[in-house]
């Protein structure tokens, strides 16, 4: 049992928590947060996987995670933007109906 194994299990747990959140949470922002938590879980799994041999650090998963982080932030930004635009439309239609 190495610490990398613990961390990869923690990554799996974060993935499961995030998936649970995506399915169960009702607010869009919670769903977006849950997707991000899932992402952190996978990244953790990858990084722990890079260290599974205590003597060697495999840099390839690190590069994959770097790519993944940037993609995650891009997806989050787009989702938040769509959410804000929907909210804006709702708000202006509410104002009109008043």
């Amino acid at each position: 049992m190495t610490s990398a194994l613990f961390y990869s299990m923690a990554g799996l747990a974060l993935f499961a928590i995030g998936f649970f959140g995506v399915v169960v949470a009702s607010h869009v922002m919670r769903k977006i947060l849950a997707l991000n938590v899932m992402g952190v879980g996978i990244f953790m799994f990858l990084i722990a996987l890079a260290k599974r041999n205590p003597l060697v650090v495999d840099p390839l998963p690190h590069a994959l995670v770097l790519t993944g982080i940037v993609i995650a932030v891009a997806g989050t930004a787009l989702a938040l933007n769509l959410m804000v635009r929907i909210h804006h439309i709702d708000q202006s239609s509410q104002e009109q109906s008043k």
Binding site: I32, L49, P61
Partner: protein, 512 residues
Amino acid sequence: MNDLSSSLLLPAIVFLPLLAAIIAYLIGQNRLQGPINICFSLAQFLLIGLTTLLFLHEKTDQSERYIIGGWGAPLGIDLIVDGFSILMLALTGLLTLLITLYSASYFSGKYSASDKSLRFWPLWWLLISGLSALFMSADAFNIYVCLEIIGLSAAALVALQGNRAALQAALRYLLVGLLGSLFYLFAIAILYRSHGTLDLMQIAETTNHSFPDKVAMILITIGLLLKIALFPLHFWLPPAHANAPTPVSAILSALVVKASLYILIKFWFDVLGETTTLGASQVLGALGGAGIIYGSWCAFRATQLKLLIAYSTVAQLGYIFLLFPLSEYSMGVSSFTGSASQAAVYFIVAHACAKAAMFLAAGNLILAQGDGEIAQLKGIAVREPLNVLVFAIAGISLIGLPPSAGFIAKWLLLTTAIESGQWWWVIVVITGGLLGAMYLFKVLSLAFSTDPAVIESRAVKSTAPVSSVSSVPVSNVMTTVALILALITLALGFNAEFILNISNTVSEVNDI
């Protein structure tokens, strides 16, 4: 060493759309926007056409690899082209050219706000580059990046319409896409852990019945089924495809869902073929069958024209999933060979052309009518005969009546089902065909209804438009493009041997 693997062609297919995206973004609002984009699409079409011809000419019995960066498989990323991917690429090239022609007049300012085109063109080209890169990718993580390009740009394109329904559909589409990619990414992590490489071929070589591979396959299947919208996971597709701008709907139904399907087929048959089981493929087939029935039924009940077509996509995707049980049974071992895979490949091509034609024609009809309600289409055949003709031809192909591409695809599917002794799929296919005929004839009979009173009332209405519905005369280009696509669908039906030859190449290639 042959021409294809050493030449510029393969990377150029990815880089040209990227370049087009940059240029489209930089020139911004300009009268030259349309012509430049048409030039780019023509160049892209020629590039892909040349690649296809070279590939067919070489008649290689192996897939071609292009090594990026001179590193080679485990370290670097390779591009790979085999028969199936060349077919998907050719489809991409053809649809890119035609839909770009269509969009150039759709976004010219007459039919939509002019600054939509500013957003549309760069995103469009990024989507095309993502699709082209995906069909050539030989690296599991590279496929993830391509899937994200496709998913994000497709969601952004759906959101282009700007109204609440479109934004909501885009948001749901985006979230589902992100969730699916995360599942895929997790599977990639597991695969890398057990195989120590990301190259698909090398994973395929070392794969065995091990437990992690099975779990990875399950995760990949779940993630990609979410993106393909197979029956119980289809909920996001109809609103997204129905609310997008017409050219976007066409490419989404024709190619974007097929991109995920392509990856699933690749993993299911080539990469992790040994982990699949008979039971799992029967489950996929059952879901496909349920999708056929459910999608057709929802299409029959739809009141909006584009929603009807979107539900029909759900149904048609179900047919392709019959590939999984049929091919499994016919070969004993899962492999992408034999008549079932030919049927599936033919189905993908036929559906892509027919559905693109149908969406474009429907977009034209909606423009001419000013309204997306099916009930409003009464007697439209008199005013828009060509577009209704396109709709009818595409519909014939979707139902599977001769002479059309859809007929041959369904014929192949039925014969395979009978040969393999799985007669229950025959019932599903025939029921689906009947339901398809019901919902398409519902539209067509309305369109062809020659009740004079109706036409008169329409004429009166169109001379004095009262309500907010505004109808615009449809430009010839847009009608012609839809017509060309419909004619291609017919030609594929008359000239079946051509595609069957290519799909023979496909099966040969995948045999190795």
